[in-house]
């Protein structure tokens, strides 16, 4: 059974190996570029003003490339689910070869489990190696940027991609077993995997460990550390608030701006501060608006995961996805006995 699995899988495996080598070469050169740029930025750090400017320059020159690469790495599970997972069983059922192979001296259960196991190992290798290379290449940038919890980055570093890849593959295989047609199974799989990639960071990851809660006072200083004020409905909201004293914490939810008595700040006051703040000549990202809002004695309630939970969260998310994959495989073993 191992021989047959490998024989049927060798062309996809070869394609993956070639892509892996190409990606490795590129990431190696990118990684050394980033290290060189990092050293240049560090060499400017004898003078604090120079240092901040150099840091900004360093971040800006790699921000988009690395974001693009993180998005690219997020495509690997989609590709694996669609091209390795979905056709695995669906193509056999579609072409009728299951009637050949299921009458050899191998039970369906062993046939399925061997296929799933061998290709799952390939998924671990592909996702794990790509992630390791990207994590290495981006390490100096990540250290400076402190955004390892951001949606795209968290799922494209360390071990998290492994969980996504294995789950996408198993899901694809089981969807193929249920739908029994290759192309529809591929289409459904790609949609489901993308839905999981959207849902997991937004709805699952924040709940893996129960978040800490805090009320953050909105001084002009904390407002200037945030990334945006207001939203398209004109509500009194603020985004990108940092936990005071813990810039590496992951803020997973932020309430609208609240007044000292806990009531939401009314829109009119908020918009007055935003549009026509008293002129104080203050600097910072939001300038006079930050001073105007800071004088209102506001606060927001936030939920956050402290920075030291990065690895527990990586482990939990990966573990959860691997457990789901095992569950799907068991369902497949149960279901395949009923296929005729």
């Amino acid at each position: 059974m191992r021989w047959l699995t490998w024989r049927q899988f060798r062309i996809p495996a070869l394609a993956a190996a070639v892509l892996l080598i190409l990606a490795g070469g590129y990431l190696l050169s990118l990684g050394s570029d980033i290290r060189e740029a990092y050293d240049t930025y560090q060499s400017h750090c004898d003078d604090p003003g120079d240092c901040a400017r150099a840091e900004n320059e360093f971040r800006e020159s790699y921000k988009n490339t690395l974001l693009f690469l993180a998005a690219g790495l997020n495509l690997i599970p989609v590709a694996i689910g669609t091209f390795w997972g979905a056709p695995l069983i669906a193509r056999e059922l579609e072409t009728g070869t299951h009637r050949l192979v299921w009458n050899q001296t191998v039970t369906r259960r062993r046939w399925l489990l061997t296929k799933l196991a061998i290709i799952a190992v390939a998924c671990v290798l592909v996702a794990g190696l790509t992630s390791a290379m990207l994590t290495w290449a981006a390490a100096p940038y990540d250290e400076v940027a402190q955004d390892r919890f951001s949606t795209l980055v968290f799922g494209a570093r360390h071990i998290a991609p492994i969980g996504y890849a294995v789950l996408a593959f198993t899901l694809g295989a089981i969807i193929g077993l249920l739908i029994r047609r290759t192309l529809p199974a591929m289409a459904v799989t790609s949609v489901v995997v993308i839905a999981i990639q959207f849902a997991a960071p937004n709805f699952v990851r924040p709940e893996l460990l129960s978040p800490e809660a805090a009320a953050v006072p909105m001084t002009a200083e904390t407002i200037n550390q945030a990334t945006n004020l207001g939203n398209i409905t004109g509500g009194a909201s603020i985004g990108g608030v940092q936990v005071p004293g813990a810039p590496d914490a992951w803020v997973s939810s932020t309430s609208p701006l609240r007044t000292a008595d806990g009531q939401p700040l009314d829109k009119a006051t908020f918009n007055d501060c935003l549009d026509t703040p008293p002129d104080t000549g203050a600097g910072g990202r939001f300038g006079d608006a930050a001073v105007c809002l800071g004088d209102l004695d506001l606060h927001v309630a936030i939920e956050y995961q402290p920075g030291e939970r990065y690895w527990p969260l990586q482990g939990l998310e990966t573990g959860l996805f691997l457990a789901l994959s095992a569950l799907l495989a068991s369902f497949g073993v149960w279901y395949i006995r009923r296929v005729s």
């Binding site: 009728g96 050899q104 001296t105």
Partner: protein
């Protein structure tokens, strides 16, 4: 019959398979002794494929039981090794070569007979490096047959294997099939809607129509207890005890009846002609189709 069950080739009791509301097989009772080459005949949609898929474990019964060589079909790897199956369209992996198919067989079957497989491939002229996807229908059927046979099963099952083949390829395929069964000392079950195929290689006949068994028995017994009688007018309703009318035909103003006679029934009064297996099967099929609307229970299984 638990003790007898173990030695039977096929034993069905109340076997029913439903697809939605359609009953593909309806309360089948059948017991076939080992060592036979069984021909399963019936029109399209009679339930032949359903029965064979149940027999090799590709599908499971809705109700009733089926035992093949004394065990549930495809119960485990050991039982899978004992039964070889060649599916209707003889599926193979299009991208694998002939040699790789043999390797597949060798890897997946502990009992694989390498020499048998090699010899057969050479005999039928299959080139080892040819991709299965580029083989002709006849060649592909030969390859599928070789894979099924080289694991040395005790029973080989063929689902309409020759249906899609041209006459020459079909002839070669049936010759291979017979040779394999003889060489392995195996039993065989072959479904076909071509009565001539069955007549040529089978020694046991099962007639299936509309999901029910119409007739089942060893060919020599069936031929010896079925007869064609030429009856004078008026005699049809006065057949002696022990003679069952299967089908009546009027040819050139005289009535000929195909009848089943018990061993001790006397036929002396009428001119008797022998019947061929083809006539026999057609008579039962004809009776089944005309009497279907009257709800006649096909109890031909009693003939065993």
């Amino acid at each position: 019959m638990p003790t007898e069950d173990r030695s039977l080739l096929l034993h069905a009791a109340g076997l029913t398979k439903r697809y939605g509301r359609h009953r593909a097989l309806n309360d089948i009772h059948l017991a076939i002794p080992p060592g036979r080459i069984v021909g399963l005949v019936g029109p399209n949609g009679a339930g032949k494929s359903t029965l064979l898929h149940l027999a090799c474990g590709l599908s499971t019964p809705t109700s009733g039981t089926l035992r093949i060589l004394g065990a549930r079909p495809a119960a485990d790897a050991v039982h899978l090794a004992r039964v070889g199956f060649v599916a209707q369209d003889t599926p193979t992996y299009a991208t694998l070569t002939v040699a790789e198919h043999l390797r597949l067989g060798a890897k997946l079957n502990p009992s694989w007979d390498h020499h048998l497989a090699q010899r057969r491939i050479t005999q039928v002229g299959l080139r080892p490096r040819q991709k299965a996807g580029r083989l002709s229908g006849g060649q592909r059927a030969q390859l599928a047959l070789t894979i099924a046979a080289a694991k040395r099963p005790e029973l080989l099952i063929f689902d309409e294997p020759a249906a899609a083949l041209d006459p020459l390829a079909r002839d070669e395929f049936l010759a291979s099939l017979t040779a394999f069964v003889a060489e392995l000392g195996a039993s065989g079950i072959l479904s076909s809607h071509l009565l001539s195929d069955v007549e040529r290689i089978c020694d046991y006949l099962v007639v299936l129509c509309a999901g029910r068994i119409q007739l089942a028995g060893a060919v020599d017994e069936l031929l010896s207890n079925h007869h064609r009688l030429v009856l004078p007018p008026g005699e049809i309703d006065r057949l002696p005890h022990g003679i069952e009318l299967i089908r009546l035909e009027h040819v050139h103003g005289r009535a000929t009846a195909l009848v089943r006679a018990d061993a001790d029934a006397s036929l002396g009064r009428y001119p008797v002609e022998p019947v061929t297996l083809e006539e026999l099967a057609l008579s039962y099929l004809g009776r089944a189709t005309t009497s279907e609307s009257h709800g006649v229970d096909g109890t031909g299984g009693d003939a065993i």
